[in-house]
Assembly symmetry: C2
DNA sequence: TAATTTGTTTCAGAGGTTGACTTAACTGCG
DNA sequence: CGCAGTTAAGTCAACCTCTGAAACAAATTA
């Protein structure tokens, strides 16, 4: 007999009963284990951390152990005398998340486990950006990734595809100029052809810049509370995390913020968009290059030109940095972030950009005097979007393991 | 004997026990009554709306009645045959919120009750913007408002002051150029000199544009999920509500977003700020006027010039609309809102601005094709900030009445 | 062996649910 | 006017599940 699935009350919208109370405290406990991450945490430490009593913690831990979401590590450091505490840490088997991404030069797929560790990362070159060509390839990569995961006792419980453009309803890519897509329901197409084990696997679609921000957030230990991750791969997007939560809706089209009122007209129909100054192809074009030297990756092409000492590329980078600074200043005036990560391909070019951006921020941001803003390269760089996509999928279990518990108990 | 105060679990950060369960379900029930607002709701309707059973609802309703947070309205329409349901609605006595605002021409104070109705609204002209002059006046107005409230059996449980500039820690006004303030701890100064009944009354400080957005949101029945309210009084600020929640931090300095790369330099140190084109004094200056005709209110001055058919003011308004459109387009590209309210003094000038703003939004907003944006004047206009401030104070009780319950039970 | 800390077992208390019964109040029909 | 039908609301008991408190068992150090 399967127990009913109870949602934990995140908002005040649903009534809570005795059993949802249990579900809530289980989530609370599990998140403490997730937060402890590298250093296993004991039952009694959980008790003090959560405020629940030891018996309650013991019961909850029993459930988590039975569902194989956590494992008992060998006796950990006790610190003082007395019975040594038993360390608990996240299982490296069980639920996993799958991420897919379409990048400038390759398609990529990624599997992460509960701990957030990347267990599988796969790149495949491609030609032709037509949905009918690209999506089946991605589906094949997904199948391969799910198999590879199963070989390591991982069950893919969710999948997300990163798309370079605004996405509606976690499924429909509204506009992706670099792929030539318009109103493509990538989620439906992929979900049809991919399954995990016996169950169908719904594949969500998200904006690449926002997923990259999520990936960088995890990679930084979730320490930052308010930050923006500016990604330049195809387009320029901004992923915003405010107060530890990601912004919903169409948020983040930084590339189409105006930075010059007398600028050239953009593909979007407006004039003076950031993209026309700080997009990678725009930077190359400003230096009279077409970017054929990078093996398909414009960032590498720029990097080699800089190494070769081409003065025109330095000018173009300076102009790009100024434009980025203006756009980010507008953003920071509106939504108050304290950290700006240069992600995607910009992470490779960060050393040529940081100074120019900082200069504009100092000039233009009203709060810069009493609330300094840190600009730095993002650690994951171009891989952030796939990894973030995979994390966003497994994160649903990390945020609320009750679904997984019900699934395990039902078999 | 007083029962301990239990917080309701809004996030998953605290454990929930049996009694916090009760507190949670009480909040849930109370919010349903708040949401029903004008049409009294019965116990059995509450039961179906919340998912709690009738016995539980009855108990909770008894508690709320005993605390005088709600009242039994006379037998309401039953709809069909049978015993008519007893309508429950918010009490118009009990907790109240106090709002204070410094406006271009007057100081204002406002008291709202639980239902959100304005019960007291008071304006006092002033001269001299020095904190040592203005703050005591505001404190005196607060005292008068608290007295007036007490006469109607209202207890002021919270107070908020609206300040024209960025505010830190709900207390310190960092920068208010139009008042000449810098790093003024208005919250501390006011809290010292104001008390409600026997208890001290802490006075919070918030940004005026954001409080105005809150006020307009309530005035519109909280129907909009994602909207921005652009307020022009002194400065230009933007109050953002996303997914029904207000953005934290320094959010909303729309006035200092760049709209012309070759523009004049602004007081903030940057160039081409929106404020230099769409600020009320900027509009008047562009038409070669100094705004002495409006009795202190620049919006009225502009309005009279328009009525007089001055062609220069029409040009200035057109330019202001274009600038506003550019800035708002940048905002909408970044944070995805579906409604733009023209608040504060702009509500009076909306008919001269809407078309120009819409034109720029159509050109510049990427998502405008599939997610239309509505631009319209805000109903409350210049009063929105005081009212919003008062609402934000009483809203703490509306969001979680347990504090008030504990207070009532303890006496 | 005593002390200490950790984890487990047992039991009582609190709260909500279910279900049935009762009281209350209105509608509609004869 | 009076009665049945209908719906709303209060009340009571039995039951379930959760947490907390206290006692108990286990494992290590001194």
């Amino acid at each position: 007999m399967t127990k009913p699935v109870h949602r934990v009350a995140p908002h005040v919208d649903i009534p809570i009963r005795q059993d949802s109370l249990r579900a809530h405290n289980l989530v609370l406990t599990f998140r403490q284990i997730v937060a402890a991450q590298d250093t296993p945490i004991s039952r009694s430490e959980l008790s003090t951390a959560t405020g629940l009593t030891r018996p309650t913690i013991s019961r909850i831990v029993d459930d988590l152990l039975a569902a194989e979401l956590i494992i008992e590590a060998g006796p950990a450091r006790s610190g003082s005398s007395g019975r040594p505490r038993v360390g608990l840490s996240l299982a490296r088997t069980g639920p996993a998340g799958l991420g897919l991404d379409i990048r400038a030069d390759v398609l990529s797929a990624c599997v992460v486990d509960l701990t957030g560790a990347v267990r599988h990362l796969d790149f495949v070159p491609y030609d032709g950006t037509d949905p009918a060509t690209v999506l089946p390839r991605l589906a094949a990569m997904a199948d391969r990734a799910i198999e590879a995961a199963a070989a390591e006792h991982l069950t893919v419980v969710g999948a997300t595809m990163a798309a370079p453009g605004p996405v509606q309803d976690n499924s429909i890519v509204r506009f992706a100029p670099t792929l030539g897509w318009r109103d493509v329901d990538a989620g439906a197409a992929l979900s049809e052809s991919v399954s995990s084990g016996s169950a169908a696997l719904p594949i969500l679609v998200g904006n690449d810049a926002r997923l990259a921000a999520l990936g960088e957030w995890y990679a930084s230990g979730q320490a930052m509370r308010n930050f923006v991750c500016v990604s330049g791969e195809f387009d320029i997007g901004a992923g915003l995390l405010l107060n530890g939560a990601q912004l919903g809706g169409w948020a983040g089209e930084l590339g189409h913020v105006m930075v010059r009122s007398d600028g050239p007209s953009c593909a979007c129909g407006a004039v003076g968009c950031l993209q026309c100054y700080a997009g990678l192809t725009a930077i190359l074009a400003a230096a009279n290059h077409d970017g054929r030297d990078g093996g398909g990756s414009p960032a590498v092409a720029i990097d080699t030109l800089v190494s070769a000492g081409d003065p025109r590329i330095l000018d173009a980078l300076d102009e790009a940095a100024t434009a980025l600074g203006i756009a980010v200043a507008g953003l920071v005036n509106l939504v108050s972030v304290d950290t700006v990560l240069l992600g995607g391909s910009y992470s490779l070019l960060a050393s040529w950009l940081v100074d120019g951006i900082n200069r504009e921020l100092r000039r233009r941001v009203l709060s810069a005097n009493w609330a300094p803003i840190e600009v730095r390269p993002a650690p994951l760089g171009p891989d952030a979007a796939v990894i973030g996509a995979a994390l966003s999928a497994v994160d649903r279990v990390r945020e609320d393991p009750n679904g997984w518990l019900a699934r395990v108990q039902s078999r």
